[in-house]
Symmetry: none
Subunit: 191 residues, 4 copies
DNA sequence: GATGAATGAGCATTCATTCAT
DNA sequence: TATGAATGAATGCTCATTCAT
């Protein structure tokens, strides 16, 4: 009977929302966005179908919020905020984080790859993600330029393509992927 | 007996089937497999829904036949059949073909990436594709071993991951991708 | 090139039609009328779908012609044409034929029961069948009247209901049905 | 938590489910299971197609639940639970109930006969129904044995076949069937 | 007579979304 | 806030039937 405080409500909201998002990440990653139903999400989260629409405008909105949330959660792992210039050490650390991050939460990563290679869906996030990553591009360009590369922009493309390819291959065979060997090759080549 | 000869029927069949496959490649590539309906395919192909089931047992079968067909169409481009040993020249040629192939038919390539990163779908082809590619793995291992790499298996992983990553990035920004520069980096590193 | 004679055509027609009917009896009996497709019939008969429509106006017409054909084929087994009056011997013979007929062609019989208990379908034949059986009703009525039954019409109903029930039960468990014992009970009671 | 109590939901569910079942009995009886569409059922019940799948897993499940429900509803009419031994009176009562039951709800009975003579469908229930009826078989065997029949098992077969045949004939001509006369014949013969 | 490609209405089923409570 | 009954459009698929050859 006692009315709940604003804070209590806020907490309840956050809890429910987090639960939904957590469950949805796993399901979307395992079965794909289009093949996961709101019904399944609600069942797995132990809540009612209707409640999901209390927190998200639509299934698409749920996907959007989820992806952005995951991204925001991931960015601090790179600890790039106050970096003005990339040292070799920092570059290696970033590379390591990029690889570790896949092993830490393969579900999430599988979700990323399935989303970002899915035609049409990618468009929902392109802009937001660009906004998040753009500030750091000059750091890498500068890094490669200082290393003496004539075309540092191309080098950055090459580096990020390689990184993406490796992340993909880790997912494809997470148990047998020769992480240490590949990491070494990667560092030797780019750092 | 027959009003049309077997050959006539065969031709009609081939024509219709090809039209369906052609339309389906584009739609699957543009909107994804799960989000493309049989109805849309039939509409775009200018035929009736039912006819598709005259040629394919199911939507899944359509996808399967399409992917395998595209693969078989692609394999000869690499001209690997009679190769017993990879020379540097051949290795470079293969690398070039791997890049060119994306530009030649981005639709098809987008389809590949969307299919092979889509959870659950990949399983339909894993075996078939393994069977097609497996014979050539030793060639590459041998190549890297002769080049003096201590761990040629890891090197092959690294190489193919890099290649996949680049193909992905080409698709993501096909107009601005610095193909020549990246190609050079790739060859310098692996060939 | 030589034109076929009318008789030859007639023969071809009859052969094809018989083949279709024969296959359809089995399929309808095994899977039911509604669940058997024209396509299956044509496949099992080794002919084309279209040909069926050369001989039958529709699926329903096929059913109609089949049932009536089977009936006409069955009637002579009872050899009732020239009977003016039922003797006890003839009555017993008719009863025996009624039972034997089920064992001789369970497919056909299963078809009958499935058709005649199927709402809506029965109506297609009611009239035709009545026309075929009606002439013999008085014979049975007379038979029971002579045996001293006060209500021979009711007795006929009782007799034919019993017969139908037994035929049904034979079909339900054709291997274990105690035919001889039941036959004896039947004869003792009605003959 | 809940806006409606569990009981309220239960009631709503029961009401909808009953309405669906009620409509489906009639339609299945009139047109047959295979020829009745979910769409027709929903239309006749005044609800949406989708709702049916809220209560039944599939069309087959709907049939299953319906048949078993009807059976369970019917069994108490025979009041056999506590019977240890069949008296003549009880036997006659059971026979009467078996006949009355058809008149009470011809729709339901037509459904039974159409279902149980329909190839393939019967299999869905065979086991369940056997489980329900098996316990009472010995009672009848004992009854016929005590009446001096040498082969009481055959006698039971004969009795139940006769009963089934009569039920069938009642359905075929419910208005003119001479129930009283036939009932008398039946009782004279078996009781 | 005979073929089978082609049609399109219809089917069982799924699912994002709404809404009364 | 939270529920789940209810909707209806859409999906993959089937099938009786037509028709050019």
């Amino acid at each position: 009977m006692s009315p709940r405080t604003k804070e209590q409500f806020e907490e309840i909201r956050k809890e429910s929302k987090d639960k939904i998002l957590k469950v949805a990440v796993v399901l979307f990653a395992e079965k794909g966005y289009a093949s996961t139903s709101i019904s399944q999400i609600s069942k797995n989260a132990g809540i009612s179908k209707g409640l999901i629409y209390n927190y998200f405008e639509s299934k698409e909105d749920l996907l959007r919020q989820m992806i952005l949330g995951l991204f925001e959660e991931m960015m601090p792992r790179f600890d790039l905020k106050d970096i003005k210039k990339l040292t070799r050490e920092k570059f290696i650390e970033l590379t390591d984080v990029s690889l570790d991050i896949v092993y830490e939460n393969p579900h999430r990563w599988r979700l990323y790859t399935s989303i970002f290679t899915q035609p049409g869906i990618m468009d929902l996030f392109k802009e937001d993600l660009l906004k998040l990553t753009m500030p750091f591009i000059p750091l890498f360009i500068e890094y490669f330029k200082e290393k003496g590369h004539k075309n540092p922009e191309a080098m950055l493309r090459y580096y990020s393509a390689t990184l993406d390819g490796i992340q993909l291959h880790i997912l494809m065979d997470i148990e047998n992927f020769p992480l240490q060997d590949v990491r070494e090759l990667l560092i030797n080549q780019f750092a």
